[in-house]
């Protein structure tokens, strides 16, 4: 497991993101195109009202600057009072990643000119400020989330995201293929990109659209899962809720026989339940994975098979010993 270097995320990358529906930022660039290569160093935004009024202490200049109705009205006032030249000069002396105007507000000729001269991109969106801020923070936190790439297969089985890991040739892809055949879904084969959202959720997806949803099956070669099994057999991303480690049966290793002790795998600092599943010819791994998924769902609903089973045994043993005691009494 290797930590991925955080790539430089520029304003141009922000503009070219392909976002849909509730995440669409609806941005377009109106000035300062030369600065589109500026990097966005932090996933935060700032309302620059105080800075424009001349208060630059603790100014979050490295953040995206969002101009709403208030800020835009203030720009107009600055221009009316003839204070704009100086204010804009100070403002743009910081290397701001970009300025974003919400509500389709017009920044005004003079602001655009100042931005153009400073090489600072000015973007406009038709969303209102609070909606835009929500979407932007959601999108940026997604992009800035810690990332890693793992070797394994990510499948969705009965709604549970399961990451199959194990050495090459142990049968991860074959297991996944059987699961797909049984109506479950493939998220990514072989190379899974995992991002940690909110520090608690592990989101897994394929690394690349071109290679996505293809599988390599020894003896068959590369197959296109979407074309063979239909769009119902695939999913773009899924939270990882269980890790199944497939390994060759080792007669000297002790495998869990009861399921009371819970193993966990740690990915990007998040603990995920883990099962170690020994593979031996004739063992039907896909059915074991399916059962593991259903068992995981039961656990989420508050029913723990192994624990419940043990409690019943203990209760039975107790009643048994009470009965023995009762029947062995002398006065009976």
């Amino acid at each position: 497991m290797i930590e991925k270097e955080p790539a430089n995320f520029t304003v141009l990358d922000l503009l070219s993101l392909e976002l849909k529906e509730q995440n669409d930022l609806r941005l377009r660039c109106v000035a300062g195109r030369a600065g589109l290569t500026r990097e966005i160093p932090v996933p935060d935004l700032n309302r620059p009202g105080l800075a424009l009024a001349g208060f630059y202490e603790s100014f979050g200049w490295e953040r995206l600057q969002v101009f709403g109705r208030g800020e835009t009205a203030f720009l107009k006032k600055l221009e009316r009072d003839g204070l704009d030249v100086e204010a804009y000069a100070t403002f743009f002396s910081y290397k701001i990643p970009c300025c974003i105007f919400t509500n389709n507000l017009d920044p005004g000729e003079r602001f655009l000119q100042a931005a153009e001269n400073a090489g600072c991109p000015v973007l406009i969106t038709d969303l209102n400020s609070s909606e835009f801020s929500l979407r932007l923070i959601r999108v940026l936190h997604d992009i800035f989330a810690p990332k890693t790439i793992m070797h394994g297969v990510l499948v969705e089985v009965f709604g549970i995201g399961i990451l199959l890991v194990g050495d090459s040739g142990v049968g991860k892809s074959e297991t996944a293929l059987e699961l797909i055949e049984r109506g479950h879904r493939l998220v990514a084969d072989d190379v899974v990109e995992i991002r940690c959202l909110n520090g608690t959720v592990l989101m897994g997806q394929g690394t690349n659209k071109v290679v996505g949803h293809h599988m390599e099956i020894r003896g068959l070669g590369i197959i296109n899962v979407t074309h063979l099994f239909g769009v119902g057999a695939i999913r773009d991303k899924k939270q990882i809720q269980l890790v199944c480690q497939l390994e060759d049966w080792d007669p000297n290793k002790v495998y869990d026989r009861i399921g009371m002790d819970e193993l966990t795998a740690e990915i990007l600092g998040v603990k995920v339940p883990k099962l170690e599943i020994p593979v031996k010819p004739g063992r039907n791994i896909p059915i074991i994975i399916e059962t593991a998924a259903m068992n995981e769902r039961l656990k989420k609903m508050g029913y723990h098979s192994a624990k419940e089973f043990n409690q019943n045994i203990m209760r039975w043993l107790e009643s048994e010993s009470a009965r023995t005691m009762y029947f062995s009494r002398d006065d009976y």
Partner: protein, 90 residues
């Protein structure tokens, strides 16, 4: 652990056939073998993994092996890259 660096010598880059060659060579060794491009590390025994690297002509690739036959593994894979996978060289 043994590491070596190489560049892609064939014009077409690492498409399906070269990646199959790499994976086929890699599985012959017991060591864990990785390829790394710009900080992205993948398992060299996985064809899909190698393709995902999107290594085009001239890209620098690091070969890393860890295990009992690490030196032989790195040498064999490096030789494969150097030969340009018997394809047209750039």
């Amino acid at each position: 652990m043994v590491e070596a660096e190489t560049t892609i010598k064939n014009r077409a880059g690492i498409h399906a056939r070269p990646s199959a060659l790499i994976a086929q060579t890699a599985v012959k060794f017991a060591s864990r073998i990785y390829l790394e491009k710009a900080g992205n590390r993948i398992n060299a025994k996985s064809i899909m993994g190698i393709i995902t690297l999107a290594a085009s002509f001239g890209t620098r690739i690091k070969i890393i092996a860890e295990g009992p036959d690490e030196q032989q593994a790195v040498d064999a894979i490096k030789a494969l890259f150097e030969s340009g996978f018997n394809e047209e060289l750039g």
